[in-house]
Every structure is written in C-alpha cells, then in structure tokens.
C-alpha cells in the first residue's frame, strides 16, 4: 500500500514539475563566477553572498522584468585556466550577464571567453588593465582599482616619513601591477627623499624565502611593500621575524584577510594593508538590515566583498529592468553609465571605462590580531 502511495506521489511530482513551469515564466538567469573552493574561497563566497542577498530582495519584490532570478554559480578557484572553463560553462548555460570573477587573473581569462557577447561586473577584481586597456567593452567593477591602493601606500610611506622602501611581488598579474605602480609613484617624486632600495619578484609557494630576506636585511629597508596574496605574505612574515628582520610589511587587499593573521600569528602584528573601504562600517538602515539578514542565513563572516557584490547586483538589475531584459547589452551598458542607482553600498554609476565613480581605498593595521582602520 505504502509503495503505491509513494509511486502516486512520485508521479504527481513528475507531472507537477512541467505544469507549474507553464504557469510561471522562465527564470531570469544570472551567472556567478569566482573562487568557491580552495584557499581563496573566503573571497569568492563573500561576493556570492552579496549577490544572493540582492537576488533574494529582488525576487521578493517581484523579480526582474517580471521573472524570478536564478543564479548559476561556477567555481574558478582563482585559477585562470579553471576560470575559462567556468566561463565557457556559463556561456553555454544561456547566461548573458555574470557577476564576478573574484581574482584579477581569473577575471582576465574569463573575459576572453565572454568577449562582446556577455556582460561582467566584478566586485573584487582590482587589476588596472581590465578596464584601462579598453579591450573589454562589457566589463564593469564596483571595487577600487589597484592604482588607488598603490597610490595610498605611496602616500602612507611618505606621510610616515620612511626613507628606504623595498618592494617585492609574486610575479602574478595582480602583485606585479601593484608593485610597478608603487615604484612609479616613488620614482615620480624624487624630492620626497624616499628611495626604493630593492625591487624584485619572488616565486610563489617556495619552501624558503631566505635569500630574499637576507637581501632585505642588507638593503636596510624600513618598510616592505608586498604585491601578492596572503599565503606567501604570511610565510614571508614568519621567516622574516624568525631571522630577526623587523621591516614593516605593507600589503594590499590580497593580504587584507583574517587568514593572514591566523597563519602568521604573532608575526602578523603591526602589518599594514590597504583594502577597499569597509562599507559595513557605514551606518545606514540598509546596511544594518543586510548584516542582520546575513547573520540569520550564514555562519561565515560577510567578508570584504559582500556589499560591493550586492551593490553591483542592484545597479545591474536596475539597468536590466530599464533595458527591458538582457538581450541588448549596449542598452544595459548605457544605463549603467548614465544613471546613478541608489544601492546598499551607496550611489553607483560607472565611467566610460567601466570603473565605478568615487571608489576609495583605506589603510588598515593589524593590532591584537584585528584589522583596524588607521589614519595616514
């Protein structure tokens, strides 16, 4: 008897699937590409939760062009090779607009798949060339660019009166661009008295950074600007401190992560890092509501890109709504550049290159294991 009931129920479910789909219009597909697995997953998930928040809000208010939004997510692990696979999958899944990707290198390789057929907004890819090169007609970002971070680092070093600076990078897209920009910043102002005494790239994932640390010691640099991610930075910090090299480390948003403190422990104290301005600190009812909502649904921290992703999604949805769908990318682009949208991250409008207008970076210092905002 029970088996028969089950069979009937199963049949009913089978039948009801297509029936209900006939009643509702097709869902509106939005793609998300980013690091959802691997050691940079905390960054990718932060952006994903931001998108999720905006989608839930929009769906509750009736959806996009009258259709419910469905998010299709693909993991790229911040690896350019995986990113192009993820992008190909999204393109094949009938998605026209994508939020992501998390890392600059991965974003660059995904963009070569999207070309001029799909539109991408990133909450976290900061490499300058992505917009500056003019190669990507449908790429936008709500985060500041690396040159804003590098300029802030240069400003900081000058203001605090350091004279000798070492710059190291991990030879990657993101790290090297930051390092180059900072070096150019110091070279452009020779009368400030700041000298770059060491400028080198190191191989990521090495067992030992000893040789370059020896060089750092003999260069007598007071501060070290690190262009790269937190995993190498924490190893560098540990090995520097164990060799009694007390050069102050200054990183960018790739270092600005709880994991850096966790891995470097004591050695992390006193490290500086620039990062996108922490929007969750702004007091507004919209932000408080988003924080409250996130706490209810997830156990993880919101992470650094939540509001940048939520803001990007809201601006994107408004532009799509106005264009009447995602068929005409040129119309969406025009809306993104011409209209200012009030979002949870503040007013969002993009310039001709695709960068958000008014993006800022902030300097943080690690004090007692916490990233604390500091004045220059």
């Amino acid at each position: 008897m029970r088996k028969i009931t089950l069979a009937i129920l199963a049949l009913a479910l089978l039948v009801s699937g297509p029936l209900s789909a006939q009643n509702n219009p097709e869902p509106f597909k939005i793609g998300y590409g980013g690091a959802l697995l691997g050691n940079l997953a905390s960054y990718g998930l932060s952006g994903f939760y931001g998108l999720e928040y905006a989608v839930l809000k929009t769906n509750a208010a009736g959806g996009l062009t009258g259709r419910q939004i469905e998010v299709i997510k693909e993991d790229d692990g911040c690896d350019p090779a995986l990113a192009s696979t993820a992008a190909t999958k999204l393109a094949g899944g009938g998605v026209k607009v994508v939020l992501g990707h998390t890392c600059s290198g991965a974003t660059n390789s995904a963009l070569s798949v999207y070309g001029s057929n799909m539109l991408l907004i990133s909450p976290s890819a900061t490499e300058v060339g992505l917009t500056e090169s003019g190669r990507n007609p449908y790429f936008f970002r709500t985060i500041m660019r690396d040159d804003v971070q590098a300029d802030l680092q240069v400003e900081f070093v000058k203001k605090r009166g350091f004279k000798k600076v070492a710059i190291l990078h991990d030879k990657g897209d993101y790290g090297k661009a930051l390092a180059d920009r900072a070096k150019a910043g110091f070279d452009a102002a020779p009368d400030s008295g700041v000298k770059v005494v060491l400028f080198e790239g190191v191989t990521s994932g090495q067992p030992s950074y000893d040789p370059v640390i020896s060089k750092l010691r003999s260069s007598e640099a007071e501060v070290l600007l690190w262009g790269g991610y937190y995993a190498d930075a924490s190893k560098l910090a540990l090995q520097m401190r164990s060799k009694k090299v007390n050069t102050i480390i200054i990183g960018a948003d790739g270092l600005n992560n709880e994991a850096y403190v966790k891995m470097a422990g004591e050695a992390a104290e006193g490290t500086f890092a620039t990062g996108p301005a922490d929007i969750s600190k702004n007091s507004s009812p919209a932000i408080a509501a988003a924080l409250e909502d996130h706490k209810k649904r997830h156990s993880e921290e919101i992470g650094p890109y939540f509001f940048y992703a939520a803001g990007a999604a809201e601006a994107l949805f408004a532009a799509i709504e106005k264009a009447g769908g995602d068929a005409d990318l040129e119309a969406i682009k025009k809306n993104l550049q011409e209209n200012t949208v009030e979002t949870v991250m503040g007013p969002v409008r993009f310039d001709a290159k695709g960068d958000v207008i008014g993006a800022k970076a902030t300097m943080y210092e690690i004090k007692n294991g916490q990233f604390v905002e500091v004045e220059l």
Binding site: G38, E200, S208, P211, S234, Q239, S242
Partner: protein
C-alpha cells in the same frame, strides 16, 4: 660580507631541504630503477601526519624534545606504511612491464594522493607549530641561524651517512645492491626481491616523513600542494647529483640550493629558478650522468 654569509647559510638550508627529499628519490631509483613521482606526496603526507600528531600529543601534555621525538616517530611509521602500500598498489603489479608504465602509474598516484589529502584534510594552508626547541647556545647568532635550521643540516648529514652505511655494510644493503644490479640473478641466489623492494620504499618514505616534519617546522605552514614544488626541485637535485647515488643527491641538492640562493642574492630573485635550471643543463651537458653518477646508456 655579511650578505655573503647570510646567503651561504640560506643556500645551505635550502639545499638541505631539497636533500632530505632527494635522498628518497635517488634511493628508489638506484635500487628499482623507477622515478617515484609520488615521493613528493609522501613528504606532504608526512608533514600532515606530523601536524595532526603534534596537535593530539600536545593536548596529551607532551612538550619540548619529547613532543618532537614522538611526533617524528608517528610521522615516520605512518608515512612508511603509505610508502609500502603505494608500492604494493601502484608499482608491484607493473613490475616487468615496460619502463613507462610504472612512470605513468607514479604520476597518477601523485595526483590521487594530492586530491585525497585535499578532500580529507583541508584545501587551505594550515599553520604548523615550531616543534624544535630553541637552543640556548644559538641565541647570539639567532638572527642568521636558528635551531630549526641547525636541525635540518644535522638531519641531512646524519641520514646521508646512515644510508651510505646501510647500503655499503649491512646484509639488507647487500641485497639491495644485488637487486639493483641483476634482479633475476639475485632471485636465483635466494634474495627475496619483494621484501628488498618493499624495504626500499619503506625507508625512502620514512626519510620523506622526517623531511616533511622538519620542513614544516621551518616553513611554519603546509597545504596539500607542497609536495609538488618540493618534489620537482628534489628530483632536479637528484638528477644533478647523479640519480641513484646517495652522496650525489646531497651534493646535487646543495649545488641547487647555493645556486638559487646566490642567484637571488647577487642577481635577482626574479631569476633564481632560471639560474638553477641553466646550471642543471650545463652540468648535464658536461657530465650526462650527473655530478657523481656513472655514465649509463640505457635510461628512459
């Protein structure tokens, strides 16, 4: 001058790190004639076991030298078991087939073990405790040499000597040499080939575990991927020194370590890998068998 001394010590440490792993490569190659690409992964597993054991044992109240020794014992025993199993699963069934089959099987094993640890343990970097106690007499020079570094040097020298003695002067060593020269003849004269080859893998894996423990203490963080880069460099070192030769592996590793260190110090760390590999090519052109290897003609 101080930079030179600093780089010399960095090079020595880097070289010793490579040597700890290269010894296992070269021993297996010398006796079985197989490039065991899974060796780097055994080293990584050794580091993970050391981390787990150190967390468990320090909970149980152990500290200092007692903790270090018991963690080392746990890592050695467990990794040796892994080495034994890998040989039984991936290499033994292919013994006697073409030389390429076990090579492919080794690469497969390496990928399998990496993914296995990633799924079972963690895809993230994990903090590794500094298990080697600080030595008082090193305090005045602690800015250039710390006790972990000293320990890595000593372990490398000790293991190299012990292995040489084992192979030259013991009964097991005699059987190993016999198997290496002519497996069929060795079998006819009553050598249990299976047991000799298993022992080779067990010893090689135990060494990798010691390497994993000490290098973990030095790097202070590990992840599932550390075996790949370290294994590549160690393999290079073993080839440089003459694969199959025990002192050759250490010499090759030290040459590689010094080359990288001085290239980073006096040229630029942008070029350290390039310099190391140019050196490898130059040495192999001049001495195709490696620094201490006999020239052989029937290689893969």
């Amino acid at each position: 001058m101080e930079l030179f001394l600093d780089l010399l010590i960095s090079g020595l440490t880097k070289g010793s790190i490579y040597a700890l792993i290269a010894l296992g490569y070269t021993m297996v190659y010398g006796i079985v004639g197989l490039i065991n690409f899974a060796h780097g992964e055994i080293y990584m597993i050794g580091a993970f076991i050391a981390l787990i054991a150190s967390l468990a044992l320090s909970q149980a109240g152990l500290a200092g030298w007692g903790l270090l020794v018991s963690v080392a014992a746990a890592a050695v025993v467990y990794s040796a078991m892994y080495g034994w199993t890998v040989e039984k699963i991936a290499y033994k069934p292919l013994r006697g087939s073409s030389r390429l089959s076990p090579l492919i099987s080794a690469i497969g094993m390496s990928i399998f073990l990496q993914n296995y640890v990633q799924l079972l343990q963690s895809p993230n970097f994990l903090t590794f405790p500094s298990l080697v106690p600080e030595l008082g007499f090193l305090a005045p020079v602690s800015h250039i040499v710390n006790s972990t570094q000293l320990f890595i040097w000593l372990a490398t020298a000790l293991i190299m000597t012990a292995l040489t003695v084992l192979i030259k002067f013991t009964r097991l060593g005699l059987s190993m040499r016999a198997v290496s020269q002519d497996p069929d003849m060795a079998r006819l004269s009553g050598v249990n080939i299976d047991r000799v080859i298993s022992s080779t893998f067990v010893i090689g894996s135990a060494l990798a575990a010691v390497g994993g423990l000490l290098i973990g203490c030095y790097m202070r963080q590990i992840d599932f991927y550390i075996g790949f880069l370290a294994g590549m460099k160690a393999f290079t070192a073993a080839v440089l020194g003459g694969i199959g030769s025990i002192p050759g592996a250490v010499l090759g590793a030290l040459v590689l370590g010094f080359a990288e260190s001085f290239a980073a110090g006096f040229i630029s760390s942008d070029y350290e890998d390039a310099v190391a590999f140019v050196l490898l090519i130059v040495i192999l052109i001049a001495r195709p068998g490696g620094l201490m290897g006999a020239a052989q003609t029937q290689k893969v």
